[in-house]
Amino acid sequence: MLSRIFNISTRSLDVYRKALDVTAHNISNAGNEDYTRQVADISTAFPDKMAGFIWGAGVKMDNIQRVRNQFIDNQLRESTQDNSFQNKKSILLGRVEQIFTEPSQFGLSELLTSFFNSWGELAVSPNSTALRENVIAKAQNISTRVETIHKNLETAKREVFDEFNSKIDTLNIELSKIHELNVKIAQQVEAGFQPNDLLDKRDAMIDKVTNLVDAQVSFDDNGSANISIGGVLAADIAQSVEFKVTAANGKLNLSTTGNHLLQQIKGGEMGALADVYTNNIPGYLDKLDTIINTVFNSVNDIHSTGYTIDEPPQTGIDFFSSYENGVLKINKEILDDPNKIAVSADGTSGNGDLALQISDINNQPLINGNTIIESYSSLITKAGNDKATADNLSTSTELVLQQLKQQRSSYSGVSLDEEMANVIKFQRSYDASAKLISVADEMIQTLLQMV
């Protein structure tokens, strides 16, 4: 029966050495964000039945378990999508709102105001070349500013497109890795292993995907992760799909390589990129164009009825010649000869009635009952509000995300205190088991000496 002590002790030595290995693994991964703490599942070995008694057979190690809460994981994925969407949107809109350089003396609003004021000044001395040059200079300021804003918005839009495109590459790579890991995990599970570290790796990749898009994640019975994006199965154990960018009708979205267009993606960083590309920037451009077109038409309508101070006075001359793609052009005749500015209502050189009318455009409710400046200020308020809303939502979703991360880390993270306590616990058990062996040995010695 003495061999029993040996058996139990050896088994116990083995179990506690393994348990110490698990603890060592935990400790060494204490700084790894993606790591899920593992616990050695220890239970009593199956007892022997002998001589009418049930004999305890010592300890055995059942499993090395990964401590993970599926419920927190699901919530965390959803929250990540929301947060990365709002956060990305806030960053993008922050870049966009700076393009307007408002409120400052370099903003378009100041330039528009001084443009209309310059006409009012011209009305005082309509035949002054200096004041005429001043009007032209103010108009050129507007034209330069509008062109810059337009160009920068277009550039921002193109950058958003490029970023979206490069995110697709990342997405495709992650999806194919998830597919590969699905295969490997299935193989190991089939062989009867518990592939904890591979599961960690796959979870980290799924997190990356949900950071990018609003992906649906589910797990089937044999442990494979199924990812679907925009109504299309993106990765499972059988395959992973490659996506590419489509930009049709001003909308930015994903489609499969077979040209199947996905449902509009709405979450994650790519959702934010698509939203800003499709809605925000074109919205700002539209409003800006409406405002500049109103300036263009209202100034020209009045100006073309006026007389120049040439000899003989001419009429029917436009002040602006064209506004296309953000380029506001001043009539070349006027640029060459400021006397071609036509503000005289009756052909005398000192009449500035039309300059007064043009200056008064600033007070007219021309755009849906708003003046030009009011309309422009509402564009700025809108740009500011869009960004501020994204900021607020980003902060609030971040708080939720942070809380969920804390919960996950509380559940699945490594606590060094706990691991150190485990080290001592397992070490003591190991020591005691070793001691048992030496006790058993002594007992055998004693028996042997009796012989």
Binding site: F100, P103, S114, N117, G120, N351
Partner: protein
């Protein structure tokens, strides 16, 4: 709750990050003295600042216009006062000249009248800021001067009747000049209506008296020949007392076009309706004809003339001077004309004074407005430095504290005790 090492680290970093970003925001605010760096800092505030700035700049523009108007008016009034004083001097001189004891020394009076005439002419041609004050809107040409043979004074510029308007408030435009026509010119104004039902080819006519530089009477006959719907040819003739035309070649006709909907005069020769000068230089006749108030309606034609004054002061004074030089006394009627001008210029001075008052009142209102708007802008975008500094101090304290606590808590673990 189970607290893991990463929980503690992440929590710490998250909070310090928030703390630092708050600190950074206050620092930027203090350094730039502006609460609103970007529209998103206060979207409504940014919009408001833009609208208020626009109001302020526009209002400042109005103030600038008013300053311009005030100085223009000031100079105009000084010039008009010179004219009035000179006219009053002439009246005194003429009263004295009537005294029989000085009858043989009329040359001295002639010199006085001539001096006054030159003073008035100089004042009438006065320039301010490179604009002739009394030249209406045609102010780059000297408005008044002698005719070629030096026998009369005439209007040299094309049109001295124009009004210079500037904007002094939203929807309020103010005339800032007294035009030459208002003071010196004879403006013959035609009012009433033309019959729109008349057949094409019908001539509607009207006539009135006009005077030459010496005060001799002539007849002005104006014919409106209907050439098409809403369109008339305006032709005119000036005849002397014997009924013979003083035009050897009558000037070509002007085409008047009326607005078919409201009957007002739309264009003259394709240009916006305005007054024009009619002259017969050989007879020293020159006056401003203003047809702009004529209307077209379905009522029978009824036209009437009115004139602001019969004769201009320059030529009256010239006539009186010539008479005095020849030892003749001016007639009572001639003296009455000078007196009439004196009244006329006094009236115009009070008009100018009213304009000055209006400009000054508006300026006062505008400067109050600007003060208020500046305050509003400052409320919206300027940093309350005291408050910001306190907040900065507070945030800084919190940051220091969390650094200190972290140095106590973060490195601790069971390892330190076994």
């Amino acid at each position: 709750m189970r607290i893991t090492d990463l929980t503690v680290f992440n929590d710490y970093l998250f909070n310090v990050g928030r703390n630092r970003s708050a600190l950074q925001k206050i620092q930027t605010q203090i350094a730039s003295q502006k609460k609103i760096q970007n529209p998103s800092d206060s979207p409504d505030g940014a919009g408001k600042v833009i609208r208020l700035n626009n109001q302020l700049k526009t209002s400042e523009g109005y103030s600038k216009n008013i300053d311009e108007g005030l100085s223009y008016m000031n100079v105009s009034i000084t010039a008009m006062e010179t004219m009035q004083t000179s006219t009053a001097n002439v009246l005194t001189a003429l009263a004295n000249a009537n005294n029989a004891t000085v009858a043989d020394n009329l040359q001295a009076f002639a010199d006085q009248v001539d001096g006054a005439l030159q003073a008035i002419l100089n004042a009438a041609n006065q320039k301010f800021n490179s604009k002739f004050l009394f030249a209406g809107t045609d102010y780059s040409t000297k408005p008044f001067g002698y005719n070629a043979d030096g026998t009369a004074i005439e209007i040299k510029a094309g049109d001295v009747s124009g009004e210079q308007n500037v904007q002094i408030a939203k929807n309020i435009f103010q005339k800032i000049n007294i035009s030459g026509a208002e003071i010196f010119g004879t403006i013959v104004k035609e009012t009433g209506n033309l019959d729109s039902n008349a057949a094409v080819g019908t001539i509607q006519t009207n006539q009135t008296s006009v005077y030459d530089a010496q005060g001799n009477e002539y007849s002005l006959i104006v014919n409106y020949t209907k050439t098409a719907d809403n369109t008339y040819n305006l032709s005119y003739d000036i005849q002397d007392s014997s009924g013979s035309s003083v035009y050897s070649t009558p000037p070509s006709a002007h085409q008047l076009k009326f607005d078919s909907s409201n009957g007002s005069l739309d264009t003259i020769d394709g240009k916006p309706a305005s007054s024009f000068i009619i002259e017969a230089p050989d007879n020293n006749i020159q006056f401003i004809f203003d047809p702009s108030k004529i209307k077209e309606s379905s009522n029978p034609a009824s036209l009437s003339f009115s004139a602001n004054q019969k004769v201009d002061i320059f030529n009256t004074l010239l006539t009186i001077k010539n008479k005095l030089e020849n030892g003749e006394l001016p007639t009572d009627e001639e003296v009455a004309r000078v007196d009439a001008f004196n009244q006329h210029i006094l009236n115009k001075l009070s008009t100018a004074g009213n304009i000055m008052n209006k400009l000054q009142d508006t300026k006062e209102v505008l400067s109050n407005q600007q003060f208020v708007i500046t305050g509003l802008i400052s409320d919206e975008q300027d940093v309350d430095v005291a408050k910001a500094v306190l907040e900065l101090q507070n945030q800084d304290n919190i940051l220091q504290l969390s650094y200190k606590i972290s140095s106590m808590v973060l490195p601790k673990s069971l390892l330190d005790y076994i």
